[in-house]
């Protein structure tokens, strides 16, 4: 009787535990926060908050004023020696490959700095130059206040931690925002093709 009860409870616990683990990993697909972030966004798009940015030219723009075109957004800091360099060259390639859409004003590349204290318009402009930006269709910008930065980091799921060497470590990705200003897809750096396909799937009117 004791054995039977134990068996019964144990099997029940195994089932409940299995369901919990299945749910906690998005159906065994996401074991890391980074994978979870991608799945969550694909399932429920996230509205990009209205945050004021200062661009590399010193102009102030509201991120929501960019609605109407697709946005490819990455988060960077200009002193970054690793991820951001890779992301920068990837954005430069995207700029070339999407040149047609950029001319039609259907796509914009946006690099947002999470180190606004250091990344002045001048630093941002020099980042674009170093990354070999062709100019049109790629804006680098910093949030004008830290509240705006927090809002953006929360909405996009960006985690920035000091790397102990004066720089930062952060989760790098390309974020696809649709014409309605909703974050709809996050792709790994190195998979710019996937981001591009997502945009070109739905050509402009």
């Amino acid at each position: 009787m004791r054995l039977l009860r134990t068996l019964f409870v144990s099997i029940a616990l195994l089932l409940v535990g299995g369901v919990v683990l299945y749910a906690a990993t998005d159906g065994l697909r996401a074991f890391t926060s980074e994978a979870a972030r991608r799945i969550a966004v694909r399932q429920h798009s996230v509205e990009v908050p209205a945050v004021t940015l200062e661009t590399q030219t010193g102009a102030h723009i509201d991120i929501t004023s960019l609605r109407g075109k697709w946005l490819l957004i990455d988060f960077i800091y200009t002193r970054c020696p690793t991820y951001c360099v890779a992301l920068g060259s990837e954005f430069a390639q995207l700029q070339d490959r999407l040149a047609g859409s950029v001319r039609e004003d259907a796509v914009e590349l946006l690099s947002i700095s999470f180190d606004p204290a250091h990344d002045t318009p001048r630093a941002l402009a020099s980042y674009l130059t170093r990354a070999k930006s062709r100019g049109a269709g790629w804006v680098a910008a910093r949030p004008v206040d830290s509240g705006g930065l927090d809002e953006l980091e929360r909405a996009f799921g960006i985690t920035v931690i000091p790397d102990g060497l004066g720089g930062y470590t952060h989760n790098a990705a390309i974020h696809v925002v649709d014409r309605q200003g909703r974050l709809v897809e996050i792709v790994d750096p190195g998979q710019a093709g996937a981001a591009m396909r997502r945009i070109l799937q739905k050509p402009g009117p």
Binding site: L13, V20, A24, T25, A36, T159, G164, T169
Partner: protein, 211 residues
């Protein structure tokens, strides 16, 4: 039935340890690194549950025993809960999401430590052996994964922290393996089975060969 002083002491000790771990500064310090969250904070929370088990009144443990033949139920519960907290995304979420943090603080003592402490004395030799070997294997698997993974598995922690943790896991796994190997070669088998009732020999000389 009067409560024995040892139990009261255990209860106080548990409460104090738990409160200390709950203190924001301690919590923050231990969660600043992946290594300390996994190897200090969570194990201490489990320890809270283990000590708590000693303060349970006999009639409660008697009821639990009725549903915990040979400690199997407790083993299943503790294993499933441990699996959950081994997910890298949960280490992140336990720091950033207060709901997940509360779940960690509640489940590590109540669903891992407590059932383990109540079940271990009731487990048979084989079950204990399988549990220990699986523990070692898990330590090695995770340690190796953390050591060789070129990617950060937690967004909150640095790669060198992750690799550091990997080294520690391999070290602990190795130490546990050596301890068990030692026990198997030179130790007394019956002391593992929990069935040892006979008085201990006055001198522990040469290893006794199992008859």
């Amino acid at each position: 039935m009067s409560v024995r002083p040892r139990r009261v002491g255990a209860l106080w000790g548990t409460a104090l340890l738990f409160l200390a771990l709950l203190a924001p500064s301690v919590k923050h310090a231990l969660e600043e690194r992946m290594t300390t969250q996994m190897l200090v904070q969570i194990p201490l929370l489990v320890l809270v549950g283990i000590v708590m088990a000693r303060s349970l009144p006999n009639r409660v443990t008697a009821v639990i025993d009725d549903w915990n033949c040979r400690g199997i139920t407790g083993l299943v519960l503790a294993t499933m809960t441990s699996l959950f907290w081994m997910l890298p995304r949960m280490l992140d979420a336990a720091v950033t999401d207060s709901l997940v943090a509360a779940a960690k603080y509640a489940s590590a003592p109540l669903l891992i430590g407590l059932p383990l402490a109540l079940s271990w004395p009731r487990m048979g030799f084989i079950v204990r052996g399988v549990l220990l070997v699986e523990c070692i294997a898990t330590l090695f698997r995770l340690g190796w994964l953390y050591l060789i993974s070129p990617e950060r598995l937690c967004n909150l922690y640095l790669l060198d922290d992750q690799q550091h943790l990997g080294q520690w896991l391999l070290l602990i796994g190795g130490a546990l393996f050596l301890a068990i190997a030692w026990k198997l070669v030179w130790g007394r088998f019956d002391s593992l089975s929990g069935a040892a009732r006979e008085p201990k020999p006055a001198h522990r000389g040469l290893p006794s060969t199992p008859a």
